[in-house]
Amino acid sequence: MMNLDEIFVTRNWVGKSVRRDEDIRLIKGEAAYVDDLDMDCAHVAFLRSVYAHARITKIDTSKAEALPGVIAVVTGPEVAKQTKPIVARAITQPAIQYVMADKKVRYVGEPLVAVAAVDRYIAEDALELIDVEYEPLPVVVEIADALKKDSPLIFEEAGSNVLLHDTLEHGNMDAAYQEADLVVKEHFRVHRYSSTPLETWAMIAKHEKGNDSFVVWANDQQPGRSTANVCNTLGIPNNRFRLIVPDSGGGFGIKLAIWPHIVILCLLAKKVDKPVKWVQTRREHLLGGSHAPDCDVEIELPMKKDGKILGLFIKDIENDGSFVHTAGIYGLIKFATMVGCYDIRATRAELLSVVTQKGPTVQNRGVGKPTMIFVLERMMDIAAKKLGLDPVEIRFRNFIQPKQMPYTTPSGEIYESGNYPECLQKALSLSGYDELKKRQIEMRKNGKYIGLGISAGIEPGTSNLGYYYTSRGVPEYMGNAEGAIVSIDYDGNVNVVMGSVDQGQGHATTISQVIADMLDIHPERVSVDSHLDSLVSPFLGHSGAYSNKFNDVDLGAVIMATKKVRDKMVRIASHVLGVETGGLQVKNGAVCSRKDEQKSVSFQEIASLAYKKILLLPEGVEPGLKEIAYYKNPMAKLPSRDDFNVQITHSNSVHVVAVEVDVETGEITFLKYVIVHDCGKQLNPGIVEGMTIGSTVHGIGAALLEEFVYDENGQPLSASFMDYMKPLAGGLPRIELAHMESPCPYTLLGTKAVGEGGAIGSVAAVANAVEDALSPFQVKVVSLPITPQKVVKAVKETKEI
């Protein structure tokens, strides 16, 4: 943390729930999402595979091309000829996949043909006229099928359906097993789900025929990496591709890898004289618009009788479906914070990424941490039961203590600050835990089953992108950073351009609060352009919105750029006022003498020198008042298997949940939901609250409702919101939220991650509560989602959910 006095000249805005004035456009219906842009476009529709696994023997598009209104068509084999295969980030086995199906299809929904027509209706009509012949191949749907010795291969060149298999060991696990009084073991299965942003993927591509270059408008969440990937895949120089990101209707990670579709649109645009537009349908989104992988986790805790955990083993198998780009990353991220909030000194993680005929996976909100905390926090309850300990007590006995901070986990993750015991204590008292316990006993007598669930979780932020060390000796990306441009205009107002993008997180307001306190002006005088243009925005390979990096490196860049501008203004003011820079201060939108505030020059006057009366500038000072800065978090370690931090900040939270389970119908009703959250310094509590609650509801949906279901032929059965159930306003608890504040020593403002934490803690807390409610029936929860059908069946027969 920097000395805040060096950053701020006032403390009027940071830390307050300043209203998000960027919302005015949104509430008036004046937002400009990709589909709203007023451009004369051709409209694109995709023909997608109806088989999960098949060889393509023929694609005939002649009838479609002859349909009046159809402008252009591209097919998978054609695209494959013009592009490089999709770049893989983490897997170690060779697996060649193109952005469109080439010789065979590997999942239902894989793009095969793209058609551009005068309107979307005609483009869809044309799809009906395309003749594709398939030769069906045997399918692999579930993890167990993929691992069979004689399993059909999805990528023949890989020689296996396992594309990554690695074991990472830190600390002495053998000793942990030897010293243990017992080893608690369990096997969990977590389903596929997704945070499904309400706006689906959308993009417009325009080919400039004159210089053979492309301009693309897309709701891309990670433009830094996408720009590189599109250019490499198309084999074009960087300066032939420009990416513009307008308003975006939610992201949650699901828009991090839309770039393969950008590649297709670019190739189609080459054949068309106007821009081509594709807006994904919800069906397309649910089929192949990326999911969190389903996974299979075996876990072992060697422990002492008193509840002390000596080591942690996981064997984590991720079903990454059929998308080689992101396959394998869930395990690597999950492993980094596998010890959760606990002082566990030895870990072993065996990580496998398997391919199957399910749809692509991508980094969904929390990326593996919701599952890791689910299995770990379930284990705490299971171990407590085994040892006859209270679930609260076993957590207290294992927590990392505040005096151990900063705490380095066996693999090298640095937990910078936090007070985990106090966080739990606070959550217990806020929820009236003891009272709820009493009520539970009372109600059971009346045949009503309520259960209490606790989860304590870590919410990491700011990925150190070097974590793909598994496959790449020297990974392409390392560390994390972001860029910002801050300028003062003629009127002395501030304009900001970012390298990152916004999908609804309120970045503009938070940035304006920070700058307002750095320059002693009203936040209304700060305009933030949250749209990105790769040609003008300060841009890095890391640029984008993911892993909660905003509060760290994005704001770091804003602060550094604002400081540069401020220093320059002070230098000009010193010249104008004849006062040494040390004798000056920034006050109320002006620079004035500390001794005599009458001696003052406003930002506007300084700007008029910088932009217009440039001959009056001091010697050696350049005209203009626009500064660019890039800020990287200094704590990121170099890639290493022995000592590495996958993430750089670590918020934490405790969720306490009370549910009532109707054992006849399986219905689950919430009675209480309390979160105590520690994300370090909060810059805008209103925004933090919204993100925390929204994220928690994602976890509740994942725990109870949402699931991508496939039949044995790999056919998806949940391709609309009628079958893929999302949480609605009714049926959700009122979430009570309280905060603690352990500033992060390694970010400029003491901030940590915000945004994913709710989704991480809630899954485990809800599952623990349901198991507790059903304890009279000896039901164990080892899988998700917890649907009413499963509850009823478990109570009556299986004893297992």
Partner: protein
């Protein structure tokens, strides 16, 4: 082709449309009012909610031809120049994140408050059953609607 004459936000529109054109596409592409969004096209998400002859409906579930001689309000027409109290409340209560659900939410909310000036939390949540929000978890939206109801009652002098 069919001729459609619709009154949207008090303004008259007239177009030749294909029978299969969805009303939501008519509003967005022909009338160029892009505040009405598409989140699913199966009638589940409510992003396309409009007021159709005063009642909230999902415009992806109607055809453009059904708008003939209908009176339609979209988010752009919810307030005159200023903001409707519900819009004001959404702004003040952090009820917006990405804003994609917001137009539909605002129309459902304003129509609820027309018929029920003092809804309970449960009534508000029920009225939002047809509107999905993927960002907020609904809580701040519910609170904003409650707050809007209060300010609307205060300004009309109605007390309960």
């Amino acid at each position: 082709m069919h001729r459609v004459q619709a009154r949207i936000n008090g303004k008259d529109y007239e177009h030749e449309v294909e029978a299969r054109l969805l009303l939501v596409h008519y509003i967005r592409e022909k009338a160029r009012l892009t505040g009405t969004h598409v989140g699913c096209d199966t009638g589940n998400c409510g992003a396309c909610t409009i007021l159709y002859n005063g009642k909230p409906v999902k415009s992806c579930m109607l055809l453009a031809v059904q708008a003939n001689r209908a009176e339609i309000t979209t988010v752009e027409g919810l307030a005159g120049n200023g903001l409707h109290p519900v819009q004001e409340a959404f702004l003040n209560r952090f009820a917006v994140q990405c804003g994609y659900c917001t137009p539909g939410m605002l129309l459902s909310a304003s129509s609820l408050l027309e018929s029920n000036a003092a809804p309970s939390e449960a009534e508000i949540r029920e009225a939002l059953e047809g509107n999905m929000c993927m960002c907020t978890g609904y809580q701040q939206i519910v609170d904003a609607i409650k707050y809007a109801a209060e300010t609307m009652r205060a300004s009309t002098g109605k007390s309960l």
